[in-house]
């Protein structure tokens, strides 16, 4: 851990809370099934809709499956999808932003109009349509969210490239005969990475919300996969008999998303103290 990150956490108590929540998610995803072995998909029809007890700390669902085991398995899915989607978004957006900012002219114009078209649709609506057209599955939701969300990175990176491009050290590197790729890698990217990391941290929370939302609508993970949104969707038929079925995944989603938002806020404060709280971005 670099000293900068240590300072961020020390300076910012809310950020530390966020860090704890995110670490808890990672631990649950990595170690959960090892520490708590019950099978998340095994049905016990005689033990349907049992309230939380010693045998089932978070109760059982409508098919007698253990809710805690499903929650832990779901953590793995949420974290996996979120990391995958965010990575693709960052790579794609950074590439498009670098090319647009660096090439300029008609290339820049064409790429940025394309970004405008992507941004012309509300994110979830567009992901819903793409995932729906491809067919309901967790993989297609992952694909749809990755394809839909890279444009804000492209804008950010392009803006930074334009700002850095004319600075002395880049001109010097160019005169020294460094290739555009070399300049981008050695001089432009390091200047942009900080803002990209902040945006990505905040984005992870949004991706988790969107994945759960699309699964809730029935487009993502299909039963019996223990995805949080899917769990919430099947729990809605038992609001009266089994309050824990919607509330357990609901609380998990809030805590995890809050964790990433707090962490992202703290990171932004540390990188650029002049910026206001990041909520305006939404």
């Amino acid at each position: 851990m670099s000293s900068r990150w240590r300072r961020v956490i020390a300076d910012n108590r809310l950020g530390a809370v966020g860090g704890v929540l995110v670490v808890a998610l990672v631990l649950a995803a990595l170690l959960g099934p090892a520490v708590y072995p019950p099978d998340p998909t095994e049905q016990h029809l005689t033990e349907r809709l049992q309230p939380p007890s010693a045998a089932h700390p978070l109760g059982t669902d409508e098919l007698g499956r253990d809710v805690l085991a499903r929650l832990l398995a779901g953590a793995r899915i949420s974290l996996g999808v979120a990391v995958l989607v965010t990575t693709v978004r960052v790579l794609l957006g950074t590439l498009v932003g670098l090319v647009a900012g660096y090439a300029g002219g008609w290339v820049d114009e064409a790429l940025m109009r394309f970004v405008d078209v992507v941004l012309a649709f509300p994110g979830i609506v567009l992901a819903l349509i793409v995932a729906g057209v491809l067919g309901p599955s967790l993989l297609n939701v992952t694909l749809a969210l990755a394809v839909v969300g890279w444009s804000s990175y492209a804008r950010l990176v392009r803006g930074n490239v334009l700002a850095v491009k004319e600075r002395g050290f880049v001109s010097a590197a160019r005169l020294a005969g460094l290739s555009p790729f070399g300049i981008a890698r050695r001089h432009v990217l390091p200047n942009v990475m900080g803002s990209v990391v902040v945006l990505a941290t905040l984005d992870v929370g949004g991706v988790i919300l969107a994945t759960a939302g699309l699964s809730f609508l029935g487009l993502g993970a299909q039963p019996p996969t223990p995805e949080w949104g899917t769990m919430l969707a099947s729990g809605r038929n038992y609001l009266r008999q089994a309050w824990w079925l919607v509330n357990v995944p609901g609380v998990a989603i809030v805590l995890v998303v809050l964790g990433f938002n707090l962490l992202g806020d703290a990171a932004r404060d540390a990188l650029d103290p002049r910026e206001e709280s990041t909520l305006e971005r939404l």
Partner: protein, 316 residues
């Protein structure tokens, strides 16, 4: 505000709209398999349609023409206000849109009212005493608000207010009583964002010359805050509330599903599952057009209300 800026902005919007329409129409071609066969087989309840039937359907709906021809045909109809007919109900898509639109507009408007009722007082009080208890509380409230999945919040409200207290109906659409819980679900998330905006905008204004003058005249703090500062602080807020449109549409898709409200969101979700492409295209196009138009209006309004804004600035 220069005329040149408005023209340039309108031209960009038109180019984007062209892209939106190509994307909307082209989407269908992303689908795996033959759309004609998929649609027919779903109509027949999962049976495989005969080859002749598929061929007839393809010819009838122009699936055999090249993409550009199909797109041009479709666009020609769209411009005349004909969005095609639903593969399922056989009703015109435009009629379906018109029948669902009022419910979604009512939801959006009511959510905005809820959002402003929460965020204006919270934002002003936070700014009046930055770093204070209210400020801290509203910051945490806003963070929880944006982190809250609205499908869960919806069920929480249903459990408490419909099932336990019996105050509001669980689902459906109709009178005002059907609107309260969905509007609160959607509006509270918006409130989180707008509160922070009101706060930072108020902080900027409270620092301005004319507010300091008002203070030094000996006016009471309450009058300074509400009469001199708030009015000016609301300028950026009003325009950026326009940009919340995207949030409303994203949220409407989910909130309408939670409360089983017949609106644009449920229309879209049902059509996506049924692979009812004309309806999907119709909703997509309407959403894209309204979204581009509202962004354009916000951009122009922003510069009209505050001429100091740099014309070359990119939208954040």
């Amino acid at each position: 505000m220069s005329c040149h800026f408005v023209l340039r902005r309108v031209a960009t919007a038109l180019i984007v709209l062209l892209g939106v329409s190509v994307a909307t129409y082209g989407m269908v071609f992303l689908t795996p398999g033959d759309p004609a066969e998929t649609i027919l087989s779903q109509r027949m309840g999962g049976d495989t349609p005969s080859e002749a039937a598929v061929e007839e359907f393809r010819q009838q709906h122009g699936f055999d023409d090249p993409f550009v021809v199909q797109y041009a045909d479709w666009m020609g109809d769209v411009v005349r206000g004909d969005l095609g007919t639903s593969y399922y109900s056989g009703r015109p898509v435009s009629a379906l849109l018109w029948s669902r639109l009022p419910n979604t507009i009512a939801l959006a408007a009511a959510s905005l009212v809820v959002a402003l009722a929460i965020s204006l007082p919270a934002g002003v009080m936070s700014a009046a005493n930055p770093g204070g208890l209210t400020d801290y509380g509203s910051r945490i409230g806003a963070l929880v608000g944006v982190s809250m999945p609205n499908f869960w919040l919806g069920y929480l409200l249903i459990i408490v207010f419909s099932l336990q207290l019996g105050m509001f109906p669980v689902a459906g659409a109709g009178g005002l009583e059907y609107l309260v819980l969905p509007a609160f679900t959607l509006g509270s998330g918006m409130a989180a964002v707008i509160t922070r905006l009101v706060r930072s905008s108020m902080l900027d204004v409270l620092d301005a010359e004319y507010v300091r003058t008002a203070r030094s005249k000996g006016l009471r703090e309450r009058i300074v805050v509400y009469k001199h500062a708030l009015r000016n602080a609301l300028i950026p807020v009003v325009t950026i509330v326009g940009l919340q449109f995207s949030y409303v549409l994203n949220g409407a898709v989910i909130v309408e599903a939670v409360f089983h409200r017949p609106g644009l969101g449920t229309l879209l979700v049902d059509a996506v599952f049924a692979r009812d492409y004309p309806v999907v295209q119709g909703v997509t196009l309407v959403v894209g057009v309204v979204f581009v138009a509202s962004n354009l209006l916000v951009d122009v309004a922003y510069r009209y209300l505050d001429p100091r804004i740099d014309l070359g600035r990119e939208r954040p």
